[in-house]
Symmetry: C2
Subunit: 380 residues, 2 copies
């Protein structure tokens, strides 16, 4: 698997990594928040904290959910995590026994594949199409599993501005997924890392908000909208799941220092303004990438039209030699993520490529897509 | 189990919690370091980082080990952790399968009992005496285990300024432990959270430094010498163990932001000065507690003489009703940690009490010990 961070190669334009743009980090606001925290709360911010997380941060997160999404949650339904990666690990630790079956939306976020493997999950892929998770395939897969005596324990999905495809699950699909989850009684993990990076169109309600049945756990993170270096996120769900995860986390809780900084920043009034700026920047990048692709890519190639998030998913003609394609691309000074990296071992992908527009600037996007187009035109 | 943090009760003097004194947190230095980090390294400090940890922090930790302890380690022998609790969890995750046998120095740090339970370890207690881990009991316990076909996988110890007893394992005991570990082939986890809080006497070398055999993993933390709210520590050992833990950690690595702050602080020159101040403060507290105990406790009670760390361990006559003793103490405005909290389920302790002097001031120590003495004189 590719490492999470690029080692910068001079002249190489990388579309391989879904990292936020460091030029968008709110450095001055984090500085101001830190100063305020150390002035006003140093004794508490630097001491051990609560395992569930800083109460003030939980209130700031749930208050914002109410304001932005009109979703009402109790504080006991929110857990502060040391980032969404840890949040996912804690969920799997709380809910899975070795060998338990997990339905995995495929392709998916590469790290979740490793997390599920480390919990010895039996991973069963469920395909997506342009409306999101394929619920027909989901139900038929479940029926096949049941015929073998297997009941799935949970399903993992990124329904909004999906990584790696950029696709958003439609409202009917969301309702169908929740109906299936209710009928076959499994938990739905809704990884919602990109929801706030919306380029302006209508976005369906979250699975958590649509769920009448308390079976959705939703993950959120400050990594895309503030900065991943803080390692800070949250998870939302039924209060007894939150309580269970609080009990099993073996880390003495998430950093109160970082939690206070995020809380003060969220309450400063600059937070919403910052998110608006971040969204506008990623929207421009997405537009530039889609325009460049449209002007340059050969006709045998198709791609998604993300309305939010960090990614475009490109479909090449079937059966490419992906490693030689990547090698050629790098020789031309551009790189991408092969779709296989986003698939569990049981799935073979030789025709997709993930392009992240998040970390590169507009000129690099234009230039990088031109370089990649040349390679594709020569190869396909 | 008691929660990790006290809810302050007016007038109650608590010796129950081993928290560092917040008045000793280096607030101005953390502020200065944060400012410097955000000025100079914001792009990297706020971005995703490496799974092993910030290289600069690893170098600062290993450089200090060389300077202070004359121990030479390669960077690949050090992993940055999100605190020692997480470090312990990662070790157990990397090394244990459910049902594996762990030799647990008893009494011990309460949290390790929960961590071992969450990994479904078969916990076998090994007693300590005034020279530290009882190596005779250790070997005879191992022989009994072997006679049942059980090979222990690892041993967990806090050899220096032990929590909860304050006892330091002697050099001969350390060498004997390493010899036994070599002969019966198990890993030794050396939790070294208190080593820097030394009140001045000679301290034996760490197990890691004495180990010729690459079987010791040593844990260190910034929680006692800087501030626990950062959630930052490190782990030292054989490079292949460090590599294995780096691979299995499901958290995208420890916060680069916090890691940079600690690095800049360590390199500022104020760090060593700060540790000296912290040590002097805890030394005064320990002295005050020992003097007050010596002047006030009834003759039927004995106690340890810690030469570092946060704790005094008190031995009462056998078979106390500990919960009624604690209730009486609280009514008089003082509390302690019952020894049972520091023991795994298979061990019954009805005659010990842990007194933490770390978080209380000198007047509180004097007053609190007088209150506790009255209760003991009436009860025993």
């Amino acid at each position: 698997m590719l490492p999470i961070s690029p080692s910068p190669t001079p002249g190489l334009i990388s579309f391989a990594y879904g990292l936020p743009d460091p030029d968008l980090f709110p450095v001055a606001s984090i500085m101001a928040a830190t100063s305020s925290v150390l002035d006003r709360f140093s004794n508490r911010a630097l001491q051990y904290g609560s395992f569930q997380g800083l109460t003030e941060l939980i209130l700031a997160v749930t208050e914002r959910l109410k304001r932005v999404e009109d979703v009402s949650l109790l504080p006991e339904q929110c857990l502060v995590t040391t980032g969404s990666t840890q949040g996912n690990d804690l969920i799997m630790r709380a809910l899975l026994k070795p060998g338990d079956t997990v339905l995995l939306e495929t392709p998916t976020w590469p790290a979740i594949i490793g997390i599920l493997k480390s919990h010895s999950a039996n991973v069963v892929p469920i395909p997506i199409d342009s409306y999101g998770l394929n619920v027909t395939a989901l139900e038929s897969t479940i029926l096949t599993l049941i015929s073998k005596g297997i009941l799935p324990k949970l399903l993992y999905t990124i329904p909004t501005f999906h990584n790696p495809t950029g696709i958003t699950m439609s409202l009917p699909r969301r309702l169908a997924l929740l109906d299936i989850a209710r009928r076959y009684d499994f938990t739905v993990v809704e990884d919602d890392a990109y929801r706030d990076i919306s380029f302006g169109g209508p976005v369906p309600q979250t699975l958590l908000a649509l769920d009448k049945d308390d079976r959705v756990i939703r993950l959120g993170t400050f990594s895309k909208i503030v900065a991943p270096g803080l390692r800070l996120g949250w998870l939302l769900g039924k209060s007894d799941i939150v309580a269970k995860i609080t009990t099993i986390r073996n880390d003495s809780g998430t950093s109160p220092f970082v939690s206070y900084i995020a809380t003060v920043y969220m309450m400063s009034g600059k937070f919403d303004e910052h998110i608006a700026q971040v969204v506008e920047a990623y929207r421009s990048k997405a537009l530039m990438m889609l325009q460049s692709i449209s002007s340059n890519f050969p006709l045998s190639v198709s791609w998604t039209q993300p309305s939010g998030g960090f990614f475009v998913w490109v479909t090449l003609p079937a059966h490419q030699e992906m490693s030689s394609l990547l090698k050629m691309a790098r020789e031309r000074g551009v790189e991408f993520l092969p779709g296989q990296v986003c698939c569990p071992e049981s799935v073979t992908d030789t025709s997709h490529v993930r392009l992240a527009f998040s970390m590169v600037n507009l000129n690099e996007i234009e230039e990088g897509i031109e370089r990649l187009s040349e390679v594709l035109k020569e190869t396909l």
